[in-house]
């Protein structure tokens, strides 16, 4: 916003200024290493947070930046999870190739679905994403000889990572693996968002009719980002399958799609760190409060959702950014 008031900026230098690493970002990523030293009992939880954060990041790319509201994003998470799980179950437990194949399968399906998704908006879009998610969940349920049905996929054996690090009970390897993948994918997502492609996605989100008039075809852009988001969601699903060595139907159900939406909105959609912050808060809160009564956990989630929509329209990070901006303004008026 402050850019507009100064002398016009070259597009390239605007994007470069946006892409500069801020100290708080570096601090955030350094802080992700802290659990190794201070919370060694919670490494399993930390690895799950990293995985769900990655999943939320993939939803952020399509929902926060491109404005595609999806109620069926867990489909790609589940596809990735089942791909990785099935490969490992049938004799190839090497994690990195499993991850790659899961990303590939999720990406191919995402690319196919993107042709449908990019044609619709509003209620029809919500219903079609919901419908496709439900279709896949039903399909997985009915081919129980392949997926294990309601019992989940049993007998997944993952080989040691890079042939040296075994997946231990305490989650050292799991967290290192999940965190490393999260960081690498985050770098890619960050580059996408701060490119001219990312900028035109935000343009499509704001006005899908004006963007083609400016010469940016909105459908092909939407198709690209939807495929990318599907790949990332597939990677997240594969990570979960590999670190927990099981896959359940729940990994592609409606509940998971709704959860990840809640996580992203809580943290702040349209912000790179929104999904990560949301995942930390959501998963830690669930670990502490849900106990043996998941029904009541959803009571608080519901209250939280209502409160966020009513009072924090841009999520926690949006609220913090607003607070920071108003403090800065106050400081400036005090000290001329």
């Amino acid at each position: 916003m402050s850019v507009a008031s100064t002398t016009p900026m070259l597009p390239r230098s605007y994007l470069q200024a946006q892409a500069r690493w801020r100290p708080i970002e570096i601090a955030f990523w350094l802080a992700t290493l802290l659990p190794f030293y201070f919370l060694p009992n919670y490494l399993v939880l930390a690895s799950q947070i990293a995985i769900i954060g990655l999943f939320a990041l993939s939803l952020d790319l399509i929902l926060g930046y491109a404005g595609i509201v999806s109620l069926g994003h867990a489909a790609f998470f589940g596809l990735g999870a089942y791909t990785a799980g099935l490969i490992a179950k049938h004799g190839w437990g090497e994690p990195l190739t499993g991850l790659f194949l899961a990303a590939l399968i999720a990406g191919i399906n995402g690319y196919a679905a993107s042709f449908i998704v990019s044609r619709f908006r509003h209620l029809a879009l919500i219903m079609i994403t919901l419908g496709m998610g439900l279709l896949l969940a039903e399909a997985a349920n009915s081919v129980s000889w392949l997926t294990g049905g309601a019992d989940g996929l049993q007998g997944v054996k993952i080989w040691p990572l890079l042939n040296t690090f075994r997946f231990d009970l305490y989650g050292y390897t799991a967290y290192s693996y999940a965190l490393a993948v999260l960081f690498l994918v985050f770098l890619v997502a960050r580059n996408i968002i701060h490119s001219s492609f990312g900028l035109s996605l935000r343009g499509i989100r704001e006005n899908p009719i004006r963007m083609p008039a400016l010469g940016a075809s909105s459908r092909s852009h939407l198709r690209k980002i939807y495929t990318i988001a599907a790949v990332i969601a597939g990677i997240a699903g594969a990570l979960l399958a590999q670190t927990t060595e099981t896959v359940s139907l729940e990994s592609l159900g409606f509940q998971r799609s709704a959860d990840v939406l809640v996580i992203l909105i809580l943290g702040g959609a349209g912000r790179l760190y929104g999904g990560l912050v949301g995942a930390i808060i959501f998963m830690v809160a669930r670990d502490q409060f849900s106990g043996n009564t998941p029904q009541f956990w959803y009571f608080w989630i519901g209250i939280l959702l209502i409160a966020v929509v009513m009072f924090l329209p841009n999520g926690i990070l949006g609220g913090l950014a607003k607070l920071g901006a108003s403090w800065q303004r106050k400081l400036r008026t005090k000290a001329p």
Binding site: L63, V69, L71, I116, R119, F120, H122, L123, A124, I126, M127, I128, L130, G131, M132, L134, L135, E138, A139, N141, S142, F254, A258, L261, V262, I265, A269, Q295, F296, Y298, F299, I301, G302, I303, L304, L305, I306, V308, V309, M310, P313
Partner: protein, 283 residues
């Protein structure tokens, strides 16, 4: 074959009652109300409470199920919903999913997660034989109630002054406002009416599909399918779509049970891809 068609038709009538309110309010205000089935669930629990704890007759519980649900829904409309009429789809979806989550938890707190047992009166049990074909008495009752409500609704919408105002508001909200129609008030009333009908639907659904706290989400999906296939703001569209979905669901589960609900989702996705604004939608 005829038995399956009949059951499907009865099921479709149930879906119609559950979804017609959502269709009209969506058409009027473009408000995506995912808590609609939470109101239906409220109607169901009112009937259960009145019948099991207060020993009211089943038919006597239907008016309270309608009225209380309508009153509760209009309170929510005035307090929460109206602030978000101009907000994005996403905000509306989130608010109402939040409400649905809360309703599920509250229902589970008071009634537990078990299916609610309800004993229908004797004249609604058993079956009736016509021309060598047997029909369930309850399903016949359900169909006649739903058809009666449909006739009343269409009559009210087509031949009363209020109905004309509602139709004007569905067609073009801003224009109707400019002509001096109190769209806000008409909407609040329509919203209460639609939720009340959902409440009746919830009460009537207990015998067919049972009632437990997951009702708010399980049938939300069916209701959304009916609304989006039928087209927003169209009673005739909802009617046709509800019958179509009801019959294909029952027939699918009867002839190819291994597919489960797969068929119904397939029908929806295919229909939406063919006509994104629904069978009878204009936008």
């Amino acid at each position: 074959m005829i038995g399956v068609l009949f059951d499907g038709f009865a099921y479709g009538m149930l879906l119609f009652l559950l979804s017609v309110g959502l269709s009209v309010t969506l058409g009027m205000m473009n408000f995506v109300n995912l808590a609609h089935c939470a109101f239906a669930m409220l109607g169901g629990y009112i009937t259960v409470t009145l019948m099991n704890d207060w020993h009211w007759p089943f038919l006597g519980t239907l008016p309270p199920a309608f009225l209380v649900t309508a009153l509760v829904s209009v309170v929510f409309e005035r307090v929460l919903y109206r602030r978000l009429y101009r907000a994005s789809d996403l905000d509306q979806v989130l608010l109402t999913i939040g409400l649905a989550f809360v309703s599920v938890a509250v229902a589970a707190y008071f009634y537990g997660t078990i299916q609610q047992p309800v004993r229908m009166p004797d004249y609604l049990r058993g079956s009736v034989t016509v021309l060598g074909l047997t029909f369930g008495a309850y399903r016949l009752f359900l169909i006649s109630v739903a058809l009666g409500i449909t006739v009343l609704l269409i009559g009210a919408l087509e031949y009363t002054r209020f109905g004309a105002q509602v139709r004007a508001a569905v067609d073009n909200q801003r224009m109707a406002n400019g002509l001096g129609i109190n769209v806000d008030g008409a909407f609040a009333f329509t919203f209460a009416l639609g939720s009340g009908l959902a409440g009746i639907g919830g009460a009537l659904a207990i015998e067919i599909v049972g009632l437990d706290p997951s009702f708010a989400f399980t049938y939300l999906i069916y209701v959304l399918i009916v609304v989006s296939v039928g087209g927003l703001g169209s009673i005739a569209g909802s009617f046709v779509a509800a019958i179509l979905i009801g019959i294909s669901d029952v027939a699918g589960k009867y002839y190819v049970p291994e597919l489960g609900a797969f068929l119904i989702y397939l029908v929806m996705v295919a229909l939406l891809m063919w006509r994104p604004s629904g069978l009878f939608g204009r936008r």
